[in-house]
């Protein structure tokens, strides 16, 4: 049944895409849905576009594993929409046509330099944003279809061990379907896929939260306390109830078939939080602590066990260790992330292109408000889904991204199938938007504006489709390589790049009369290169990408935004002042 529901969602999406694709033959239809999408549909499509695998799988997974810190992403992701609505939405709609490069260059007589810089930035950001979506897709498909860890191989190729894993197959599957969607129809079908996905995601997550609250917080008592002492070496005196949270297999090993033996009454939203805060929670985590309790799963993997007072899990610092550090530089990492999330949303290319699908700036404003309401409601739900997953007794300690679907599984196979299928369409909706933004950057910005290749509408749409396929293939390869990252963490990187490369240019263009085209080009390139270089020199890159276990990295902290966003602003001001037209300088000097 799980697979049947999943396949229904996939074929429904593809069918819808094909049917709507028949209406989008022109460049205006392909890139901007003819600018005729209604503001309410566009608002929900904003939610469908924005609530990606990082929001659903990543945030819920982080909360389930580490508590409150995942919710920090919810706060930051929504806060970014305030910038989008109050600063960006209406002017960007008035200035642009198909892409954000149009808006930046419009005031300068369609500058090729600006278009080139903006197109490169769009491509880099879209690809960085695509990676976590693909990672999330791979995580989903493997358990959903019951795929083994390794499907084929490993093969020894030139000294490297290569194999086709269940995760890789998931990434390839999503990539293939999304390329089909974008190639068949463009923005028209992408809008409707995002609208349907956004609606379903919010509605079904609300239903899931109602079920979580109705179940309350089941706990274990009695004999398990002894086990808890053995595991942790201490007894927590703060609470009289002990909760065991872990992989189902783990629970079987430790406590028999039931993860909890003391059912709870239904709880209200505040009571649920209070109950969690009053309870000691034993979590199984992917990494073992030195000399800490750990246990070996049936598949041979070792996971650590940790007992933590619930009220501590409802405080920041469980995942972002820097928050609780004495060192200022560690705390700056967190500040930098929150700044990037705040500034990044309004600079994401796949969000910006949605402003060209509505007819006027009033529609742009209204659709952003609808988007904020839907997205804000969803982010409130993430806290309960994450905490519900934490105490569900059904967590995969090796993959935080699977926490929300596995939580749904504790309510039965049907909810699991529905939530997994929705998560899958979540990936489809966001990836479609990203690939469309990237293909627009290539076909419209690079080929037509920068290289001056004037083609017919039909040829332009065709080149965009080829570009979409190429970007999709790159995303698939990177999605396989970045398997071990949490989806939200990777999206945080994309926000840093977007906030550094795009936002200073957009804001200064709108609010400072002295902005020159040279200033904009320099700002985009400095923001892009500095943030990208910083990210590739972080500890996470050295350990997870280059394979240097234990390497501390070269960058002082993981999130570059705190340094690279101001750097891009300063660059724009300095270069603009240096390249100001003479008549302006004469006017200034009297």
């Amino acid at each position: 049944m799980t697979i049947a529901i999943f396949l229904f969602f996939v074929f429904f999406t593809l069918g819808l895409s094909w049917w709507l694709g028949k209406r989008a033959k022109t460049a205006s239809g392909y890139f901007a849905a003819h600018g005729q999408v209604g503001w309410f549909v566009n608002g929900i499509a904003f939610a469908g576009d924005y609530l990606s695998a990082a929001s659903f799988l990543g945030i819920c997974g982080l909360i389930a594993f580490y508590g409150y810190d995942g919710f920090l992403y919810s706060i930051g992701f929504l806060a970014g929409w305030v910038v989008a609505l109050f600063v960006i939405a209406e002017p960007i709609k008035k200035l642009g046509k198909f892409t954000f490069a149009d808006a930046l260059s419009a005031k300068f007589g369609n500058s090729r330099g600006i278009t080139l810089a903006a197109a490169i930035s769009t491509l880099v950001i879209s690809i960085f944003y695509l990676i976590p979506q693909m990672v999330g897709a791979g995580s989903l498909i493997k358990p959903l279809l019951g795929l083994p860890e390794v499907l084929l191989g490993p093969y020894d190729v030139a000294g490297m061990k290569l194999s086709l894993t269940g995760h890789a197959l998931g990434v390839i599957g999503v990539g293939g379907i999304v390329i089909l969607i974008v190639v068949t129809a463009g923005m028209v079908s992408t809008t409707w896929v995002q609208f349907i996905k956004g609606s379903m995601l919010v509605v079904f997550c609300a239903v899931l939260v109602v079920a979580i609250l109705a179940r309350g917080v089941p706990t274990v008592a009695g004999p398990q306390e002894a086990t808890l002492k053995q595991l942790t070496g201490r007894t927590d005196q703060q609470s009289d109830e002990k909760m065991v949270v872990s992989d189902v297999k783990l629970n079987r090993l430790l406590y028999g078939d039931t993860p909890a033996d003391k059912p709870s009454a239904a709880l209200g939203p505040a009571e649920f939080i209070k109950k969690l805060g009053d309870t000691t929670i034993v979590r199984s985590l992917p990494a073992t602590q030195p000399n800490g309790p750990s246990i070996v799963l049936r598949d041979g993997a070792t996971v650590g066990m940790m007992a933590t007072p619930g009220d501590e899990l409802l405080l920041p610092g469980g995942y972002f260790k820097g928050i609780r550090s004495e060192k200022l530089v560690d705390r700056l990492d967190f500040v930098s992330l929150m700044l990037a999330l705040f500034c990044g949303t309004a600079a994401l290319p796949h969000i910006l292109i949605r402003y060209y699908t509505v007819k006027d700036s009033a529609s742009a404003r209204k659709s952003t408000v609808v988007g904020i309401i839907a997205i804000g409601f969803f982010y409130v739900l993430t806290l309960y889904i994450g905490l519900g997953a934490m105490v569900s007794g059904n967590i995969d300690p090796k993959d935080s991204n699977m926490s929300a679907p596995l939580l749904a599984q504790t309510f039965g196979q049907l909810p699991f199938a529905i939530i997994s299928a929705i998560a899958f369409t979540t990936v489809l909706g966001t990836v479609s938007g990203l690939i469309l933004a990237a293909s627009g950057a290539i076909a419209h910005d690079l080929i037509e504006t920068v290289f001056g290749h004037q083609a017919s509408d039909h040829a332009k749409v065709n080149s965009a489709k080829w570009a979409a396929a190429g970007v999709g293939v790159i995303a698939v390869v990177l999605g396989i390589l970045f398997k071990s990252f949490n989806a939200s963490f990777l999206v945080g990187w994309a926000f840093n790049i977007a906030a550094s490369a795009n936002l200073p240019a957009i804001v200064m263009l709108l609010f400072w009369g002295g902005t020159t085209r040279q200033g904009i080009v320099a700002s985009i390139l400095v923001g892009l290169i500095s943030s990208l270089t910083w990210l590739l020199l972080t500890k996470e890159a050295f350990v997870n990408i280059y394979g240097y276990t234990g390497h501390l990295g070269i960058a002082p902290f993981s999130q570059p935004g705190l340094v690279t966003i101001p750097l891009a602003f300063i660059t724009l001001v300095v270069v603009s002042l240096m390249t100001r037209p003479r008549w302006v300088l004469r006017g200034l000097t009297g």
Binding site: Y68, F71, S74, I75, L78, A79, W81, V82, V83, L85, F86, V87, E90, K94, G96, K97, D102, A106, K107, F108, S111, A270, E271, I273, K274, K275, G277, D311, L314, L315, P316, G317, I323, F334, V335, M338, Y356, D360, S361, A362, R365, K366, T368, V369, I372, I373, G376, Y379, V380, L509, L510, F511, W512, G513, T515, T516, S576, R580, W583, V584
Partner: protein, 91 residues
């Protein structure tokens, strides 16, 4: 004659931009306050606000609700544009 090198004609603020800027500053102050507390004294966020809800949860939820409330306020107060020239069509 306008010079294509600079963007001097783009900076006449509309009433909506003025309103948006005020609401933006209000929200930014709330957001910055949250980050400041988290960085300088995260334990303060453990203080109970009401009914077992600590400041961390209350402030975080408050930021989400504030974003939604300010967005609705903006939509309510924003003035319709007198003309809607689609400048993009001229590009």
């Amino acid at each position: 004659m306008s010079d294509p090198g600079a963007s001097h004609d783009a900076h006449h603020r509309s009433p909506n931009q003025e309103l948006g800027m005020v609401l933006f500053i209000i929200y930014f102050a709330l957001y910055a306050g949250f980050i400041a507390i988290t960085v300088y004294d995260y334990k303060l966020l453990g203080k109970e606000l009401f009914g077992g809800i600590n400041l961390a949860i209350g402030y975080g939820m408050g930021l989400i609700i504030a974003a939604v409330a300010l967005a609705i306020l903006y939509a309510w107060l924003a003035k319709p544009d007198p003309v809607e020239p689609n400048e993009a069509a001229e590009i």
